[in-house]
């Protein structure tokens, strides 16, 4: 039996993945089914990343393959039923910090796994997080930061969420190169994640648990 689509993508065989997509589209296969298979492929990538077999470049490359598959499928998706999203997550890099690689990886992974992501971008003031939590009702907030100056911005963001009376309505996770459990405590967040795959596990755990 030939290898299935998800494991071909999981093996990062870009050419083959795109050829199968092309063939399937030509034969009239349901575009949503193709995307679901592709997502299973990314799931394999995520598992291999967690087990230490894959690394950041592999994750980025899988994102590139998925992007190309999605671009090929997109014209066929018009009018297709909207996918039901699993839950809402507000993301952003905290005030004064403009780093976005980790932020965008988390956005990509959460989106791929079916969550509705509100990515506020970089250098996001605390009030903007508060406002977005209010308007979306998102139960999860992800704070990203790379520089040591983000330690205080994270703490200030959590404090602002507290001051707005929203602290018990949201779970807050932090991530970024220097983050660890001590900074999580310092900032007053609920969890820290080492990478984008860890962020997905946290979100799944929280959304599933409520």
């Amino acid at each position: 039996m030939p290898q299935d689509f998800a494991s071909i993508l999981g093996d990062l065989k870009k050419q083959e993945t795109l050829e199968i997509t092309q063939k399937w589209l030509a034969s009239g296969k349901d575009p949503m089914a193709i995307l679901n298979d592709a997502r299973r492929g990314i799931e394999i990538v995520g598992q291999r990343f967690t087990s230490g077999e894959y690394f950041l470049p592999d994750l980025i490359y899988s994102g590139e393959i998925l992007k190309q598959v999605t671009e090929m499928v997109a014209p066929e998706l018009k009018g297709a039923a909207k996918v039901k999203k699993l839950g809402k997550v507000v993301l952003g890099t905290v005030a004064y910090d403009i780093h976005n690689i980790g932020l965008n990886m988390v956005d990509f992974m959460l989106d791929t796994f079916g969550f509705e992501v509100y990515n506020l971008g970089v250098d996001v003031p605390a009030e903007k997080f508060v406002e977005k939590i209010k308007t979306t009702g998102a139960p999860i907030v992800g704070l990203s930061g790379f520089l040591t100056l983000s330690f205080n911005s994270m703490k200030e963001t959590v404090d602002a969420i507290k001051a707005a009376g929203l602290r018990d309505k949201v779970k807050i996770m932090i991530g970024g190169a220097q983050m660890n459990d001590d900074i999580r405590k310092y900032a007053g967040a609920d969890a820290f994640g080492r990478d984008a795959v860890a962020a997905v596990s946290l979100v799944k755990q929280w959304i599933g648990g409520t």
């Binding site: 690394f55 950041l56 470049p57 980025i60 590139e64 690689i101 250098d123 100056l149 330690f151 310092y186």
Partner: protein, 418 residues
């Protein structure tokens, strides 16, 4: 009877060099490297620090003297950049007053500054590509340089006598050259202040840690040309071109680093690394893409009697067995969060280790937390020499001064070799 500054200078320089050469010094040297910490400690914001050479020098001196460091790092190379950035219309950074707050460090804008389809142009003639495509793209004031003629084409009379001089008669090119000259004046002013500062500090008895900068060729392409995402995709989609581009840059990186040593007279070169850490690539990718050209840079500097001070950012524990393969006692490996036990086990007796004091502890911990951690570092990594105490990536801009003081004082007291 106190020691003279000259005696103190010799003593500190010897302590630092003994650690590098893996001899047992009188005590663990304490050499905290800092960028904006000194300026902030002296009451400047980041914007003032980046523009005012004299006040940066004053606050640096105050920091080195108040904390009584063994060896200091002159922060000017990494801080006194404001006037040049402004005159040249720098687009790769946001800096205080230009996209980030006056209290924030300058930050790099992650982007593809060279597109994937430009590798061929780069490989064919890097000088022409950098002069007429890259520089006009990243420095706004020099954008008109894209109007220059193809440089190798100016090697015979139509090019040499007509096209080349004509380009310089164009108003935008003339303005670009004027901006370049003004930036050059600032750069000269900054460098002469920097050199004078190092002399003043030497007269007070404090040696300077380094006088030169180098890069891993992979980081150079990744940070400045292709961007993080771009270079990671290149490892899959165009590995041969990426390897060729790194080969092209390697001699240029070595040449610049050696040139800076000749200019500064300080035979130590700082090589901060960004993209080779654990997780950022597999061991196999590290062996293929990252280490070979970096090793060339390190060996070339050692060959010229220059001590490479290689900052391995993040956790590089899985790289230790590979990177130990350099000449004994000739370099410093500066670690952020690599496992201290494994580092000592693998590198001890081969390469001097520096750093490892966590940034977050210096920013958010208490002096007692810092002393406790210092004790562990001195016990484990300092055992038998070959260790220099420093923050994981130096002293963070936001470190609490009382924590830095605790780190320095404790090391002087506890770090004595008996």
């Amino acid at each position: 009877m106190g020691k003279t500054p000259e005696e103190l200078y010799q003593e500190r320089e010897k302590r630092f060099n003994d650690a590098i050469q893996l001899k047992v010094p009188d005590r663990v040297p304490i050499a905290p490297h800092f960028i904006f910490f000194g300026a902030k400690y002296g009451g400047l914001n980041c914007q003032e620090a980046m523009y005012d050479y004299d006040r940066l020098a004053e606050t640096t001196r105050k920091t080195v003297v108040d904390f009584d460091l063994d060896v200091y790092m002159n922060p000017s190379y990494l801080v006194s950049l404001g006037p040049m950035m402004e005159i040249l219309g720098e687009r790769q950074f946001k800096w205080p007053g230009h996209g980030v707050s006056v209290d924030s460090t300058y930050q790099y804008v992650e982007k593809e500054y060279m597109t994937a389809d430009e590798y061929d142009a780069f490989l064919n003639d890097p000088t022409d590509y950098i002069l007429r495509t890259y520089i006009p793209r990243v420095l706004g004031a020099l954008e008109p340089l894209k109007m220059l003629p193809n440089i190798p084409g100016a090697s015979y009379f139509v090019g040499l006598l007509i096209l080349l001089p004509m380009a310089f008669a164009m108003e935008p090119v003339a303005q670009a050259l004027e901006a370049l000259a003004r930036a050059g004046q600032e750069s000269l002013k900054m460098l002469s202040r920097l050199e004078a500062f190092d002399k003043e500090m030497a007269a007070l008895g404090f040696p300077s840690m380094l006088g030169s900068y180098g890069w891993a060729p992979f980081d150079c392409i990744g940070d400045h040309f292709r961007g993080t995402t771009g270079i990671m995709l290149d490892m899959y989609e165009r590995p041969d071109k990426l390897l060729a581009a790194m080969d092209k840059l390697t001699p240029a990186i070595i040449g610049t680093a050696v040139g800076l040593v000749q200019q500064s007279g300080i035979p130590r070169c700082f090589i901060p690394l960004h993209k080779g850490l654990d997780g950022f690539m597999s061991p196999q990718q590290f062996d293929t893409f990252y280490w070979p050209t970096l090793k060339k840079v390190i060996l070339a500097l050692i060959d010229q009697n220059i001590v490479p001070i290689v900052l391995w950012e993040g956790d590089c524990t899985s790289r230790l067995e590979t990177i130990v393969d350099i000449p004994k006692g000739k370099a410093i490996y500066f670690f952020e969060s690599t496992d201290m036990h494994r580092a000592k086990e693998v590198l001890g007796g081969q390469v001097c280790i520096m750093g490892l004091m966590p940034s977050w502890l210096l920013c958010t911990g208490s002096p007692q937390d810092v002393r406790d951690y210092c004790k562990r570092l001195i016990d484990v990594v300092g055992k038998g020499g070959g260790y220099i105490l420093n923050g994981g990536v130096g002293i963070p801009d936001e470190a609490k001064p009382e924590n830095v003081k605790a780190m320095v004082d404790f090391t002087k007291e506890y770090g004595v070799y008996k």
